[in-house]
């Protein structure tokens, strides 16, 4: 069925006008109950030879037919357009936005988008617009593709459900979920180029405890000799200022775990308002502060050697 619809309609990359041919309709559970009620009324009226009872049954049946056509028409000529996605961390909800435009003079009611999950329904005024936000759960890093989505309505009366199938092929990035307890980034990390590293070594800022992975040349050997304690010399303008997180320096056994650590470092650094950069094999993002940088870096993590995208 899905394949057949897909074949019939083809992919929908841009705005799509919902024409009659792509709107399907079936009765809902309530509609079926309504039908059973009508049959009971009809049989009762026929049995009692009651013409007004018959008239009542016929009026309600005709109202059902009108409701069916009205439900179908509630979608007709609407323009649906993919309106962007909002990436999420793996395990959280990816947001797919679908904008609905109503070009006609009839207000449309109770429109929703459904693809596994269903959006809260919206009304769209005549010549108005509304956006539906479809929130879909993500499983793993990479990307989530919204292969097919239904624009649906049960208006009026909830007796029928009309829907149109879109194949927007919208892709939403899924960032790696930041590791819960990642070590802090290595202090020397982010010597973004030799110049920065040299400048960083100019201003001695203090000593801190050694972490595995700290470069041996920053070990304060004199302090070690005094206190039998491995300490690391810290320099201002060093990792604190412009760290460049490197996949090679992220601890962890698997790639996914290391990406998770990188994600944690990026999120934390962004939260502290720092500038940061990212170095992945084959890709280097120079340090910068801000939301755009965070998104750029996380996106690079999502895309790096990405597994096959999930399809919602």
């Amino acid at each position: 069925m899905h394949d057949w619809i897909r074949q019939r309609q083809g992919p929908d990359r841009d705005a799509v006008t919902l024409q009659r041919g792509r709107i399907y309709i079936l009765p809902t559970g309530l509609g079926a109950a309504f039908g059973v009620m009508l049959v009971a009324m009809l049989l009762g009226s026929l049995n009692y030879g009651n013409n007004l009872g018959l008239a009542l049954s016929f009026l309600l049946a005709a109202l059902g037919v009108v409701a069916m056509h009205a439900c179908h028409r509630n979608l007709e000529q609407l323009i649906a357009r993919p309106a962007g996605t909002e990436p999420s961390f793996a395990g959280q909800y990816a947001v797919f936005r679908i904008a609905l435009a109503n070009p006609g003079r009839l207000p449309r009611s109770d429109l929703e988008a459904a693809a596994g999950a269903t959006t809260p329904p919206v009304h769209v005024a005549a010549a108005g617009e509304a956006a539906l936000e479809l929130r879909l759960p993500t499983r793993r890093r990479g990307s989530l593709i919204l292969e097919r989505v239904e624009i649906a309505t049960r208006y009026p009366y909830g007796l029928f459900r009309a829907w149109a199938v879109l194949h927007p092929g919208m892709t939403c990035l899924v960032y790696p979920c930041p590791a819960a307890n990642a070590p802090p980034p290595p202090r020397h990390a982010g010597l973004a180029g030799g110049g920065a590293a040299r400048r960083g070594e100019d201003d001695f800022a203090g000593l801190r405890n050694y972490h595995p992975g700290d470069p041996p040349k920053h070990i304060a050997w004199k302090a070690y000799a005094r206190a039998d304690e491995l300490l690391i010399k810290e320099f201002s303008g060093d990792a604190e200022a412009t760290p460049v997180f490197d996949l090679a320096e992220a601890p962890g056994a698997e790639l996914e775990a290391r990406l998770a650590v990188l994600a944690r470092w990026i999120v934390d650094a962004h939260a502290r308002g720092l500038a940061f950069g990212l170095r992945l094999p084959g890709e280097e993002i120079p340090p910068a502060p801000g939301d755009a940088q965070r998104a750029r870096c996380l996106a690079a993590l999502a895309r790096f050697d990405a597994p096959a995208p999930d399809v919602a």
């Binding site: 009620m37 000529q77 009839l106 009611s109 809260p120 208006y155």
Partner: protein
């Protein structure tokens, strides 16, 4: 209140309103505690929703359900049947109200409301009920729209208005179904039991029984005559049944069905007519004397020449009859009928028996004797009255020798007994006499107040002969109706009076509406359908004709619906001024001067002036007129005409 609570309250309020309206026609019919309970629960539920009270627990609801079911059983002795079923339906809605949480519960309530509407039609199919139920159905559908509405943002649809528009669109489809959906005779699971308390004639007559009816304007039946010519008032004797068993106080119908029907010779010109009778819950039918033929299969003629239907009449019924006002009926009297027609309770009304025997001895023949009894009523101090005093156990003695005030039943009872007392077979005939002619509709209205009782005696060589002793006392009763016989003397109820010509006219108009309603809606049956099909050109319509008419009719109705909906979807027709201006733009575009999307009309006009100075004046005139039309405070009446003319003559 939070938005969710407000929303929930609105849903509840819509549903409760619809349900209350659906309960309306049943308010007086149900045992009073039932509507009181339902409305009480509804009111409590609304307050509880507002205040955020907790709903009763499952246990409490179960106990209430048990209690009301027992209550229905105590009130109706059954929980099935129309009365018990309706009561239970109403109570179920109250119980459901106590557990409403989501939209699904509300939809159940709305469905119950629709069933209550159906039930009110099973009780009565009159204009008033229909006039109440139609808006109720509308309100319930609007409630369904409201409770299933979930969307946010944008203007929400208005339930009542939207539903009204949809019902309007549903009307043609419903009409086609109503006209062409085949009607069946008979029923699937037995005729409904009659549970209505009917006013009207019954199968027994005690003194005063009929005078109670005279205060009742309710229509008993309506009659259309072939040729629209009713018989003269003195021939309007509508026989319903005969009463043969007398216990000294009350006359009763004889149940026995075993008698054969005596032969009748029909004379004179027949009267053909169609009777549309209101339900009586009894088997009697009404026909003018003497009935010759009637709608086949509906009824049989019993031994006393009255028509008996096969089943009690529980819905409006229409039937055709042919009667002969002149006739000779039952020249031969068989023994069993003779015995029944001479029965008198032994030892009762002794003074009447004594008087009868004395008068018979004085008279030469049976016929003379009967005349002398009528003279007795006429010449002595007998009064015809609507409010006769009560009578003792020997009712005829009390009436003839003490009170001497009576209504038709008293005279018929006394006369019949006097005849039987001397061995003349006689019986009381109960039915209606007269009727109001409705000149607007061209039919006769016979009301309960036309109820009448008279006598029928059997005389050798003449057979059964009608004698109306009331006519001896108050001849104007028969000739001119009840009002004439009580002109100004006694209070008559509204419809019997004619002091206000306007009210009388209005009453006739209303009755005409009811009669047409009965003919075209309530009594719309197989026969009417076939005549409609014949009008449409189907000769001798069979099931194929029905199927075809239904299919074509539905096709047309659905076509209308689809077209109607599509027309509403069409984008709004553009403003005529904008259309004219667009024509102006198109003409310039063909000359290579195109207006940019963001270019204001005046800027565009300036550009036109630079590019084509020769067109400048006209382009400016068009632009200014257009702007005045679109944005001006008060465009002149002929601006649109001016703009169109300017554009038409604009040839760049």
């Amino acid at each position: 209140m939070s938005p969710e609570r407000t929303e929930s309250f609105r849903r509840l309020a819509w549903t409760t309103a619809g349900l209350t309206a659906a309960l309306g026609p049943h308010l007086l019919r149900l045992e009073p505690w039932i509507p009181a309970f339902v409305l009480g629960v509804a009111a409590w539920r609304l307050v509880a929703e507002r205040r955020g009270w907790r709903l009763p627990s499952t246990l409490v609801r179960g106990l209430i359900a048990l209690a009301v079911t027992v209550g229905v059983f105590l009130s109706y002795a059954t929980i099935t049947g129309l009365d018990g079923g309706t009561a239970l339906l109403a109570l179920m809605s109250a119980l459901k109200l106590l557990e409403t949480r989501g939209p699904r519960d509300y939809t159940v309530l709305i469905f119950i409301g629709w069933f209550l509407c159906l039930a009110s039609f099973l009780y009565a199919q009159d204009v008033a009920t229909a006039a109440w139920v139609l808006p109720t159905v509308w309100l319930l559908a609007a409630a369904l729209l409201r409770v299933t509405l979930r969307g946010r943002g944008g203007p929400p649809p208005r339930p009542f208005r939207t539903t009204g528009a949809m019902l309007l669109k549903a009307a043609p489809l419903a009409l086609v179904l109503f006209i062409f959906f085949p009607r069946f005779a008979g029923s699937f699971w037995g005729a409904p039991s009659s549970e209505r308390g009917q006013t009207g004639l019954t199968e027994e007559m005690s003194p005063g029984a009929i005078s109670d009816l005279t205060q009742n304007d309710v229509v008993a039946f309506r009659v259309r005559f072939e040729g629209d010519q009713p018989p003269p008032p003195r021939e309007r004797y509508w026989r319903a049944l005969t009463l043969n068993q007398f216990d000294g106080y009350t006359w009763r119908r004889s149940d026995s069905q075993a008698y054969f029907v005596p032969e009748v010779t029909h004379l004179g010109t027949p009267v053909e007519y169609t009777v549309t009778m209101e339900p009586t819950a009894q088997q009697m039918l009404f026909a003018l004397d003497m009935v010759a033929s009637w709608t086949p299969g509906l009824a049989h003629k019993s031994w006393d020449f009255s028509l008996r239907a096969r089943r009690p009449i529980n819905a409006v019924l229409r039937y055709d009859v042919r009667s002969h006002p002149e006739y000779q009926a039952g020249l031969e009297l068989i023994l069993s009928i003779e015995n029944l027609s001479l029965q008198l309770p032994p030892g009762r009304n002794p003074r009447t028996l004594e008087l009868a025997n004395r008068m018979r001895a004085a008279a030469g023949s049976d016929a003379d004797y009967l005349q002398s009894v009528l003279s007795l009523f006429r010449e002595q101090e007998f009064r015809y009255t609507l409010a006769p005093p009560g009578l003792a156990r020997d009712s005829v003695d009390d009436f003839l020798f003490n009170t001497r005030q009576g209504f038709c039943g008293h005279y018929a009872s006394a006369f019949t007994m006097m005849a039987r007392a001397v061995g003349i077979p006689a019986r009381v005939v109960a039915g209606y006499q007269g009727g109001d002619w409705n000149p607007l509709g061209g039919y006769l209205i016979v009301r309960q107040s036309h109820a009448h009782a008279w006598s029928e005696v059997w005389l050798p060589k003449r057979g059964w002969t009608r004698v109306d002793p009331t006519a001896a006392v108050a001849p104007e009763r028969v000739e001119r109706g009840l009002e004439a016989s009580f002109a100004g003397s006694e209070a008559l109820s509204g419809a019997l009076r004619r002091d206000s010509e306007f009210l009388w006219q209005a009453g006739m108009l209303w009755d005409n509406l009811n009669a047409e309603w009965n003919d075209w809606v309530v009594q719309f049956d197989r026969e009417t359908q076939e005549s409609v099909l014949s009008e449409l050109g189907f000769d001798d319509p069979d099931w194929r004709a029905f199927a075809m008419a239904l299919a074509v009719g539905l096709g047309i109705a659905v076509g209308i619906l689809v077209l109607w909906l599509a027309l509403e979807l069409r984008p709004r027709a553009t403003d005529p001024a904008a259309a004219a201006y667009r024509r102006f733009q198109n003409r310039l575009a063909r000359r290579g001067i195109e207006r940019a999307a963001a270019e204001a009309p005046r800027d565009f006009a300036q550009r036109v002036r630079r590019l084509r100075p020769d067109l400048a004046l006209r382009a400016l005139a068009i632009t200014e007129t257009y702007l005045r039309l679109r944005y001006g405070p008060a465009p002149a009446a002929n601006d649109l005409r001016l703009l169109r003319a300017l554009v038409t003559r604009f040839r760049p």
